[in-house]
Amino acid sequence: MERTLARLAAEIVERNRGAGNIALIGIRTRGAPLAHRLAKLISSLEGGKNIPVGILDITLYRDDYLISRKTPKVRATEIPFDIQDRAVVLVDDVLYTGRTVRAAIDAVLDYGRPDRIQLAVLVDRGGREMPVAGDFVGKKLVTSPGEEVRVHLEEVDGRDEVIIVELSSESA
């Protein structure tokens, strides 16, 4: 995972011609620690430059809030910088249907008008339901709807790993 993230960091810097304007926004839950890691890597590539990092909670922007059977917890969004005219890189662990990213784009636009929005994900598992594509993709996996891709991170789960779980084997 370290190597993949290092590659993603390098790609982000290259695509944006340096880190001058970059801000990372991690999508809760696991996008947040990933964004912090990428920021650290980008910073070391760019001579210690401070890369702003925000955390986005998309609960209020979900398209299934009124039809979902359970109430999701609203958590804090922390974007402690002005996103106006910045290159905002959204960071998430898994790109699947694209609905989360759609919601995240809407949420970010309510904070201002960034110069551009890009998407960095650790895993792209296919199965899109929205016209969304990752700009920086760690690994592509071919999966079926009956499977779930779980990313575990040191900061949240105590270890770094990506596992594919057969949903039918659990009571989902």
């Binding site: 909670d57 609960t59 809030y65 009124l66 699947y96």
Partner: protein, 319 residues
């Protein structure tokens, strides 16, 4: 819903918001935590979220209230809900239609949430038992005003950090106050201590059974408390013979700078509005360093957003 989105889902906290009596601490905390996030939304360049797109809210006010109605309306608009407003003046209520008929008619136009202010205690529960829409009590007689209680609690929590162990004095006409009742229930459920102060004629007989002690002397009360919540004195209490005169009330129970300075400690001063300046609270207190009165107003919108958001989260008949 994609399996990927399954994280962070919790059981729903609310179906209606009728009062704070019997609402356990975790539910209140959930509402207040959610309101904190809405406060952040209200500070953004675009202070609006799409969460309740497609939800229709009816604001039914059978009793006048400008500020509560505006606060609810703003909360609904900030959540992208559609709103309709109804107040008794010029309505069919004047023509003898019953409350239930009026509300059923409005509900038939496909309304998802009813926010109701009504002069009869218990009216919001009566409604919640009989209609499919979800009900938020915006004040029912002398019974409860839960969103006011919640916004007061959010204000205290933001100012002093936590509710548990805090000492809150409620001052004034406790007997006729739904604000007092909602505060008492909510604060006690969250582990705060509550005492009440006011003329014996305006203290309800059940005060002790609600779990609050009566402090007859305001200076004693101020010595004891961290927070004083000053209630509005309805001026008709005088014509009802419950207080001898405004002058007398002001002298014994009016919150003045002198009294606060005499207490010589940090006391947070709240008032649900509208204020009778110079009667229950002096201007230099209301506008002074103790006062969080305008924060209360701001927090009201966020708390109402949280309540509307949380009760809209799922179908009423599920789980």
């Amino acid at each position: 819903m994609s399996p990927h989105n399954k994280i962070d889902l919790e059981p729903p906290v609310l179906t209606h918001l009728l009062g704070l009596d019997g609402v356990p601490e975790p539910v209140i905390t959930e509402i207040l935590d959610t309101a904190e996030n809405f406060l952040a939304v209200l500070e953004r360049p675009i202070p609006k979220v799409p969460s309740l797109r497609g939800v229709t809210v009816a604001n039914l006010f059978f009793e006048n209230s400008t500020r509560t109605r505006i606060s609810f309306e703003l909360a609904e608009k900030r959540l992208s809900a559609d709103t309709i407003n109804f107040s008794t003046s010029g309505s069919s209520v004047a023509k003898g239609e019953t409350l239930l008929d009026t509300v059923k008619n409005i509900e038939a136009m496909k309304v998802d949430v009813v926010v109701m202010r009504h002069w009869a205690a218990g009216s919001s529960k009566f409604l919640a038992d009989r209609i499919d829409a979800k009900v938020v009590n915006a004040g029912d007689g002398t019974h409860e005003h839960p969103t006011q209680g919640l916004l007061d609690m959010l204000t205290i929590r933001r100012k002093l950090g936590a509710l548990k162990g805090l000492k809150v004095l409620i001052l004034g006409d406790i007997a006729h106050s739904r604000v007092a009742r909602s505060n008492i229930f909510g604060l006690l459920n969250c582990g705060a201590e509550v005492k009440v102060c006011g003329p014996a004629t305006l203290i309800p007989r059940e005060a002790e059974s609600l779990g609050v002690e009566v402090i007859p002397d305001l200076d004693e009360g101020l010595k004891w408390c961290n927070v004083v919540n000053v209630l509005r004195l309805q001026l008709e209490r005088m014509s009802q013979g419950l207080i001898p005169s405004l002058r007398d009330y002001q002298r014994r129970y009016g919150l003045t700078r002198l009294r606060l300075e005499k207490a010589a400690k940090d006391i947070v001063v709240m008032h649900p509005g509208p204020m009778n300046r110079g009667v229950e609270i002096d201007s230099n207190v209301a506008d002074g360093p103790w006062s969080v009165i305008l924060s209360q107003v701001k927090h009201g919108v966020a708390v109402r957003m949280a309540a509307l958001f949380l009760i809209s989260g799922r179908e009423k008949d599920e789980g």
